[in-house]
């Protein structure tokens, strides 16, 4: 034990570490392990039958696919929003800044109802999109994406913003005095600095999107095999008092999400090491 202890001006490593572990166990690990314990009531054959049912598999595809797409969209536009908020001053900037947090604060059901009303075939926006482009937004997979983009936006903006604030404009000036054009300055100077924060934002937006339920079920239309998300499948099982079935699907979701977050973290660590930040 003494090998991990090193001298520090603030004492209390033992106590705080112990507290951290107990707290993490109570709040995160024990509830999560219950998922696996419930699941273990099933035999492997039963388990496999439940989690590989065509309707459930379709929901995985939609849930994880739409979440990744939404996180990617948010990474691009969230970065742009953060850039505008940090670099420029304009009237009403404070209000725009506050608006970014709204998806955090709004009950998800409210967001879902509002989005559905807008994008429904007879809604304000929906009728134009369906009328002119012939694309159905609400009650289709696209609607799921819209809802997930909406709720994931603040994560990217709020993680990238502080990094942009700390970014010295001198770096850009140095790059352009060395002959780099705008794209090169962005690609080789700015992006490598922003990337770790952007990836964190992406991971958070993704994680939030995978677990989202409230806003999605209104706009998705919940058509089997087309626009059902995995959390909905879990709820459906619960409503049928099929607790073991519900936790089986939950376990699959949990493992996939965990692996994906692990990969993102590993990528981040790799990016950090490559740029000398961790040395």
């Amino acid at each position: 034990m003494s090998s991990i202890k090193s001298f520090s001006v603030l004492p209390g490593f033992g106590l705080s570490m112990g507290f951290t572990l107990v707290y993490l166990s109570l709040i995160v690990l024990i509830p999560l392990s219950a998922v696996f314990i419930f699941t273990s009531q099933l035999t492997w054959a039963e388990f496999w039958a439940i989690v590989s049912a065509p309707r459930v598999v379709a929901s995985y595809k939609l849930s994880f696919g739409a979440s990744l797409a939404a996180a990617a969209i948010n990474a691009v536009f969230g970065l742009m929003l953060a850039w505008v908020l940090v670099r420029y001053s304009f009237p009403g900037k404070k209000i725009v800044d506050a608006l970014v947090d709204l998806p955090f604060a709004l009950p998800t059901a409210v967001a879902g109802i509002a989005l559905t009303a807008l994008y429904a075939p007879n809604g304000w926006i929906g009728q134009f999109i369906q009328g002119t482009l012939g694309i159905k937004v609400a009650f289709a997979p696209l609607g799921v994406l819209v809802a997930l983009v909406f709720i994931g936006l603040p994560f990217v903006v709020r993680t990238v913003q502080p990094v942009l604030q700390d970014l010295e404009t001198e770096l850009e000036e140095a790059a352009s005095s060395l002959g780099a054009n705008r794209w090169q300055t962005f690609r080789y100077v700015l992006i490598p600095i922003i990337l770790p924060a952007l990836m964190t934002g992406f991971a958070l937006a993704f994680a939030r999107a995978v677990g989202e339920y409230g806003s999605v079920i209104f706009i998705a239309g919940n058509i089997p095999m087309v626009s059902e998300i995995t959390p909905l499948m879990i709820i459906t099982k619960l409503e049928q008092y099929d607790y073991a079935g519900a936790t089986a699907i939950a376990a699959v979701m949990l493992v996939v999400s965990f692996v994906m977050l692990l990969i993102i973290n590993a990528l981040q660590a790799w990016a950090g090491k490559r740029t000398g930040r961790d040395r």
């Binding site: 140095a174 352009s176 005095s177 090169q184 740029t275 000398g276």
Partner: protein
Amino acid sequence: MSIEVKNLHKQFGSFTALDDISLNFPSGELVALLGPSGCGKTTLLRIIAGLEQADSGSVILDGENASQTHVRERQVGFVFQHYALFKHMTVFDNVAFGLRMKPRKSRPSEKVIAEKVHRLLELVQLDWLADRFPSQLSGGQRQRIALARALAVEPRVLLLDEPFGALDAKVRKELRRWLRKLHDELHITSIFVTHDQEEALEVADRVVLMDHGKVEQVGTPDEVYNHPQTPFVYGFLGSVNLFHGRVDDGHLHVGDDVLHDLGENYGPGSEVYAFARPHELDIVVDTQQVSGLSAKVNRVLSFGLNSRVELDGINSAHGQHFEVELSPQRVHELSLTQGQIVKLVPSKLKLFQRDSLHKDHHA
């Protein structure tokens, strides 16, 4: 390459940063822009680099009007006070950056780039740091890398914005000498901004003194130090003692005291400011002596080559402080005590008309 600026004017809100500046920087010289903070020297440098736009006036590089040219195309090397190194790149990649960003047609091969980068790193004597990251270097090393990075693209001029401002005194002195040596080897037209008069006088071929967005004096270090043309220049280059007085019959009257033999002609009754450097003053213990200014000894500081005596003004000069630099022997001879009343006798005195000072200082 020569640099010329004509009638530059720059305004930040109600603050005038540059007020009709016209200057000529001959090819191959190392020029210092010297002045207190807020005098406009950094703004001038940034306008020459193209990082900032003047409200009016023009920047002429090598006889060509470059006012509308983007910083990218001006071919200037710029060195920042806080280095502005790319933290996510190794030292090697930092120096290679400018070469790698060239358009494909004129971009050298990686092999040529590697050779060139190593040559530059040898020039700044840091070849052994090529694989490190900027965060692993000391301040002095970072600034030398920043310089190597700027030189990699073979700039026509080198502009340095307070290059040693963030370094500690010892490293500063070392880098100063090193910059001078480097300039003697490369002969690239260079301008550096500083607020440290010692640095400017020691390193530069010529010094441009600025205050309140105006040029006060341009000249060699010797010219500006020994022949200051304005009270500002006199006061800025080294410590100074100031007396307010009136000229009458060729004598300077300061309160009840009189100084004889001014050597300069001023109309009778003209109000003047008189300046003397600490080493141009002597102390006389005999207060009955006719010529001299009365003062009270406050402290005697005896360390280093010369001793310093700090004095407080009395009578009309009440509240003022004076500083005299004497040899240790002289101090020993005088055996001054605190509170003693003595007379200050200048060996040299520089007079400026009082109204000229007002005009210059309230722009």
